[in-house]
Amino acid sequence: MTPQLPHLLSLLVALPILGALVVALTPRGSESLAKLVGLGVSLAAFLASLQLVTAFKDVAAYQFDESVPWIPSLGISYHVGIDGLSLWLVILTTLLTPLCLLGAWSQIASRVKEFVLFMLLLEAGMIGVFVALDLFLFYVFWEAMLIPMYFLIGIWGHDRRIYAAVKFFLYTFAGSVLMLVAFLVLYRHVGTFDIPKLVAMPVAPWLQTWLFLACALAFAIKVPMWPFHTWLPDAHVEAPTAGSVILAGVMLKMGGYGFLRLAIPLFPDAALRLAPLVGVLAVIGIVYGALVSLVQPDLKKLVAYSSVSHLGFVMLGIAGLSTIGVTGAVYQMLNHGVSTGALFFLVGMLYDRRHTRLISEFGGLRAAMPWYFAMFLLISLSSIAMPGTNGFVGEFLILMGAWSASPKLVAVASLGVILAAAYILWMVKRVFYGELRNPKNQGLPDLSPRETAVLLPLVALAIVMGVLSPAFTRRIEPSAEALVRRVHAHVQPAPAGVAALLKAPAAQAPPPAPDAGNVR
């Protein structure tokens, strides 16, 4: 065993920021230097993050914990740590960032320095969200991350980039500000921003409902859950490939992660009561996303809408509030990061060659680009949850976990599995099979070594995660179990009636019986 690096999590956050500073100082014109620094730093962060996996103990506790007072007058501290829910998401972030930089190597022609800088800042922000254990710190990373992504879409995106960038920013910003007010209200009632402390503190049920709703809105927009998804197709389609990969691969996960890290453990009663609503919205998202994907003429839009459907599964697993379901949800987040990330890379590579993404422009590519086809097919299979690939494990766990909560929802969600097979395979058929009729597609070059280097790790992961899933899930499970146990153990008797759920008992309802135990 190598000795463990000290302050590993802080190092992971600081490394990209330092890298960004170095990139900012590189002279204008030396673009490959900026790219090399970016790639080197993000690879170093990836290698360092692997230490998290080797040193991680399969227990529910927060690990690699660091806490330093930051703003004493409100008791805010720089508190970071990870558990099974965040471990793999950190790794996913550190893995996808260097791949994105490598993938964008020759794609980004203008303002390369700024591009690398924003990618590194984005990485720092994303890691920060996953490791923050203080509400203030969490919010700082959560919001700060929007800025680099806004620039990535707005500067290097496609035709409607400005519209998409502004829409992305305003949507997510609007969602998160209500969460900020919820944090402040929570602080007023409990007096701390520290997440581990908050988890142990009971909050009055009427207050929980409001706070849960405020946080849930922020997270639902990020996921995105139907009907808050309308920013996603615009942002994904207009973003440059690297932006889409990060957006789909990591940033969408923050919605689900937010539910697991904050909304559910902090407001367990409200979560338990509102879980059916979340489940219904999730299932609508699954079916809606799949149906819309089915009719997309544009490859990138198809992948974008398929994300709505796939993330619906994640939310269904979370809404089931069972250990299996939550484990499956976390696993599915990773799967989606790997397979949809790879799909966006693949679509981007095709776009680089043909400058179009319309499915009707293609056909018979199998012959022209055999290696590309092989990679595409494997990732497609993972995306439709073929047994043997990672997608299968995730969706299976989710459906199994949600069954105990609602067999009906699972039945409808299964439709989504079938529809996924339909829209993906139909797309594969139209793009790769048949005859190569369009003369523009003749002689398209197959994958370059650089592109292979980008795709291979993801394709390999899709298979490894499909066959060796316990190596991953056993690290997730203890934390998932602890979360589920907390939700079901701390349930406070629900006051009767909708009004009682939303109003302070002192103001409206008669004082509850002394043994009710729900008034602090």
């Binding site: 930051w70 703003i71 004493p72 007058s73 409100l74 203030f136 919010y139 700082v140 990373f141 919001e143 700060a144 929007l146 800025i147 806004y150 620039f151 707005g154 500067i155 980039r161 400005i162 960038a165 502004v166 920013f169 305003l170 910003f173 609007a174 500000v177 209500l178 900020l180 007010v181 402040l184 209200v185 602080y187 007023r188």
Partner: protein, 483 residues
């Protein structure tokens, strides 16, 4: 008796006033064809005053002078340091701008220094009449500054509008002072507090009316809706460096006095003025932000943004003094750095009487002036209230103060209007970063002094955003003088 003779608390203001006189004299004794070293003299005087403030803060002499009219307590020292810092940055920004507009005259610095004297007095007054005198010293000098670019009609209009509405506001203020005096028999805030505590219920309506009139007077000065009408015209017409100074300095001075009068002088009427303040805060946030959406002129947009920020600041005023002062004082620091910076960037680009006037003029700025564009982007992000800037920490504290005192609705209006504001601030970022530059490069190379001023503002915005604890601790300490 020794207390009365201890003039040390008045030292910073006296130094600045003296410098103002020296600048005027130097101007008079400079031979024709040569330039008086006005900006250098002003800098020396302001830095000296800042040193005096720091020395007072470290020393023991912090009592009241002039029969209890002026104080060198925590609140006044904190705000005096802020106002002097704002003035120093303005002086750094000015020479380049004045030269570009052909109005490089020493009187500019003298007027600036005199208005600083008024601001310093305003935040250290413990007595309503001296507060009024300070308010007038500040305002009269600012009227002159707003009209300083005499050749431009907009500048004249700006001065006249500011003068008329400012006098109007002063009348309200004075009437409020008269009513408070009528009820309490004193204009010294300490005695006002004491006698209001024991006043008969019959006198209450008069006292509340007095408080309301004072609030109207302050409402004009901080540009709160519905007393904001002058702001866009004055901000647009005044020379840009003056606008920068007004938006940062006047806001700090007026909010300091507002805190002093309402939290120290009239706390016993809190249950009456708090709803008024809350209502003003809500309409100011809503109207300021919505009106800013429709602006295409840069300076008007920033003027409405400045109105909106008065609303954010007011939303913390409903909190108990300890919370309110900490939040408001920190935000004033953050806001001063950011607003000075934002107007400073516009001023720094001025050349031969032209400066970027509309949002479209900023198109492609990131390619032509990457550092300036980056600085303006930082300021705009901070105005929106996004981490890791001082503006975020500031808003966090303002809204926390509102929530902690039970005014969740103020925080809700605040964050929702912040989302609205994101739209118009982002438009500038879009223009700078996502649109191609139009036409030839018409803007100036930035003067070294302005580079220094803008770097300091940007550094403050980021450093106080990442490490706000020291400023917050000082603000907390300063707030102690209120209770």
């Amino acid at each position: 008796m020794s207390e009365v003779l201890d003039l040390r608390p008045a030292l910073p203001a006296a130094l600045v006033a003296l410098t103002g006189v020296v600048v005027l004299l130097a101007q008079a004794f400079t031979p024709k064809g040569q330039r008086a070293p006005s900006s250098a003299l002003s800098l020396v005087g302001l830095v000296g005053a800042l040193a005096a403030v720091v020395a007072l803060g470290g020393g023991s002499a912090r009592g009241a002078v002039l029969a209890g009219a002026l104080a060198a307590d925590g609140l006044s020292l904190f705000l005096q340091a802020l106002i002097l810092a704002v003035a120093i940055l303005t002086v750094l920004l000015s020479p380049g701008y004045l030269r570009a507009n052909g109005i490089e005259r020493g009187e500019h610095y003298a007027l600036l220094l005199f208005s600083v004297v008024g601001m310093l007095g305003l935040v250290s007054s413990l007595e309503l009449v001296s507060m009024f005198v300070a308010l007038e010293i500040m305002s009269v000098a600012l009227y002159g500054l707003a009209g300083f670019d005499r050749a431009r009609r907009e500048s004249q209009e700006s001065a006249l509008k500011y003068f008329v509405t400012g006098s109007f506001a002063s009348a309200f203020f004075l009437y409020g002072v008269a009513l408070v005096y009528g009820v309490t028999g004193s204009t010294a805030l300490e005695r006002v507090t004491r006698s209001l505590g024991t006043a008969s219920p019959a006198a209450l309506p008069l006292a509340v009316l007095g408080a309301a009139l004072l609030l109207v007077g302050f409402g004009f000065k901080v540009a709160s809706v519905p007393f904001h009408m002058w702001t866009p015209d004055v901000y647009e017409g005044a020379p840009t460096t003056v606008t920068a100074f007004m938006s940062a300095g006047v806001k700090a001075a007026a909010f300091g006095a507002l805190l002093r009068v309402f939290d120290y002088g009239l706390p016993s009427l809190a249950s009456h003025w708090q709803p008024l303040v809350a209502a003003l805060a809500v309409v100011t946030m809503v109207v300021g932000n919505l009106a800013a959406l429709a602006q295409t002129s840069l300076k008007r947009l920033l003027a409405y943004s400045s109105i909106a920020h008065a609303g954010y600041l007011m939303s913390a005023l409903v909190a108990p003094p300890a919370l309110a002062s900490e939040a408001i004082l920190f935000y004033l620091v953050a806001y001063a750095a950011v607003n000075l910076g934002a107007f400073g960037v516009i001023a720094a680009l001025a050349r031969e009487g032209r400066e970027p006037a509309s949002v479209a003029d900023l198109a492609g700025l990131s390619e032509r002036r990457p550092a300036l564009a980056a600085a303006l982007a930082v300021f705009l992000v901070s105005l929106t209230g996004i981490p890791v800037t001082a503006g975020f920490v500031g808003k966090f504290y303002l809204f926390n103060a509102a929530v902690a005192s039970g005014w969740v609705v103020l925080a809700l209006v605040g964050v929702i209007t912040s989302v609205v504001s994101a739209y118009y601030y982002l438009r500038l970022v879009v223009a700078m970063y996502m649109e191609a530059p139009l036409g030839e490069d018409r803007f100036a190379a930035v003067a070294p002094a302005a580079v220094l001023a803008l770097s300091l503002s940007a550094a403050a915005t980021l450093v106080f955003g990442l490490w706000p604890a020291p400023v917050l601790a000082l603000a907390r300490l300063a707030g102690r003088s209120l209770f």
